[in-house]
């Protein structure tokens, strides 16, 4: 657990970057720090590995004050990923990943062997090992950045806008892989982002900061969307927060009506809705595991205003109309 105890950072110019921040980042979880520029999120992150020294207050890792530790040794025990990855241009991908283990005294050979495994883990084949960073795409560089931070298997990872330098398609892909990786590894992760959607998508907990380094709200993404602490958080979270909050609930308890009027194939899979000019596509189907947001989207985009539920075998096993959905959402409120 990473604990901020009443931390203040005032820069020499007199500007306050972080103002009496108290915060707990739970072990094994992703905590995202999000806010507009100048909210002190990066400063807060960099105080954890002592890249920035707090003006007052303490930062504890598992109860131990980081100020009492040797800077370099502290940092070697904490993974660090930054925007644009910050890879060493003069070292091969493999040696970039092997950096911290070598600093910790491992032989180059064992460090490289481990690095190769890690590269594979972040989705880069061995052919990339001998390349230099300049020969990689932005997304590949970012993967190497993550592998490099993981190389010494640190319990904690600090990530400063790790995915903001890549295009949206690659970013979505990296998000997926990152969450999958975290499921296996269970690191304690602090991640800075300016993108509230990313913060909500990736964070188990989200800390929303506002200009001047004040903590506006700390909570789970669901709490943030359902009960924003004030107008600032509400506007920062955005307009469709109601719709987005549906992402956190599955359709497992959504009542369905029997399948009727839908054309099916021999295996019972939906083919489409009969119309005056032939079959109209259903536009997709949902399962019990899909979110209510997916169901809502299907209902709205369906040509007949009805979404189709399918079982694990792909066979249609229920229908939901916009009336049914509205009734269910209304019943959840009471």
């Amino acid at each position: 657990m990473i604990t901020f105890e009443d931390v203040v950072k005032v820069y020499p110019g007199g500007s306050t970057a972080v103002d009496h921040l108290s915060l707990e980042l739970p072990t094994g979880k992703i905590t995202t720090l999000v806010g507009p520029s100048g909210c002190g999120k990066t400063t807060s992150l960099r105080m954890i590995n002592r890249m920035v020294t707090p003006t007052s207050g303490r930062i504890l890792i598992d109860g131990e004050d980081v100020a009492g530790k040797d800077e370099a040794l502290l940092r070697r025990g904490i993974g660090y990923v930054i925007q644009h990855a910050g890879l060493f241009p003069h070292r091969t991908v493999l040696d970039n990943v092997a950096t911290v283990p070598v600093l910790l005294g491992e032989t180059r050979r064992t460090a490289r062997t481990k690095a190769l495994v890690l590269l594979e883990r972040v989705g880069l084949s061995a052919e990339f090992a001998k390349r230099y960073p300049a020969q990689l795409s932005g997304g590949q560089q970012q993967r190497v950045g993550v592998a490099r931070a993981l190389a010494a298997d640190p319990p904690i990872m600090l990530m400063d806008e790790p995915f903001s330098a890549v295009d949206p398609v690659v970013r979505a892909q990296l998000h997926q892989e990152f969450l999958r990786l975290q499921q296996d590894l269970g690191k304690t992760i602090a991640m800075v982002t300016h993108d509230i959607d990313e913060a909500i998508k990736l964070g188990d907990h989200v800390a929303v900061l506002r200009a001047g380094g004040h903590l506006a709200q700390f909570g789970t993404p669901r709490e943030l969307l359902a009960e924003p602490a004030d107008d600032f958080v509400a506007s920062f979270v955005g307009r469709d927060r109601g719709l987005r909050s549906l992402s956190f609930d599955t359709a497992s308890e959504l009542p369905v009506k029997p399948v009727d009027g839908l054309s099916l194939d021999d295996a019972g899979r939906p083919l489409g809705w009969p119309g005056p000019s032939g079959l109209q596509p259903t536009g997709g189907a949902f399962t019990k595991e899909d979110s209510l947001r997916t169901v809502t989207d299907l209902v709205i985009s369906s040509p007949v205003g009805i979404a189709v539920r399918v079982g694990p075998d792909g066979a249609a096993d229920g229908l939901v109309s916009h009336h049914d959905l509205a009734d269910y959402l209304a019943s959840r409120r009471s």
Binding site: M51, R76, F88, P89, H90, T92, V100, L158
Partner: protein, 218 residues
Amino acid sequence: MNLSYLTDPAHWDLSAPGGIPQLILSHLGYTALALLLGVIIALPVGLYIGHTGKGSFIAINAGNAGRSLPTLGLLMLMVTLLGLGLLPVLIALTVLVIPPILTSAYAGMRTLDHRVVDAARGMGMRSWQVLTRVELPMALPVLMSGFRNAALQVVATATVAAAVGLGGLGRLLIDGLAVNDYSRVLAGAVVVAGLAVLVDLFLALIQRWIVSPGLKGS
């Protein structure tokens, strides 16, 4: 005007004191010594200024200030002050090579990608590890171009050593001029220019060898 002096085998006698090989050797000797002294003096200063940003004014203006000092005047001043010998020549040539080395060391450090340096610190490298493992290797291309520049200048300028009675390829120019032997002057000019090209080629090879392939093309 002809190449007869250059092509006369008698002038290429390895052991003859005034022969071309001996002159090349002493010329290279002055060059190497001046470069060595220049690196010892200017490299740490340039790296320090570039690393800390303190005294940038000195580094930025060192180049033009150094170029504006007439080497011949400095050499003659030193000889008048210290007497004939190797020392005044070395001082004058070292003053010549300090500015390009200082400026390039400064520029190499200043133009580093600060995000990479930040990453190095964040991964737990100590200050000297950041310098030797990240900053220096990354600054090497700029550093080497400054060093090559310095080497070119000193090879061409070391000819003035002959003007104060020392050896080096300037002897061919000064002595040739004194007796109106233009074939000898031409030989001097050709050998110095050739030597400059060879030295630069040699340094280019070293650069290719010590600069990481990852930094090529940037």
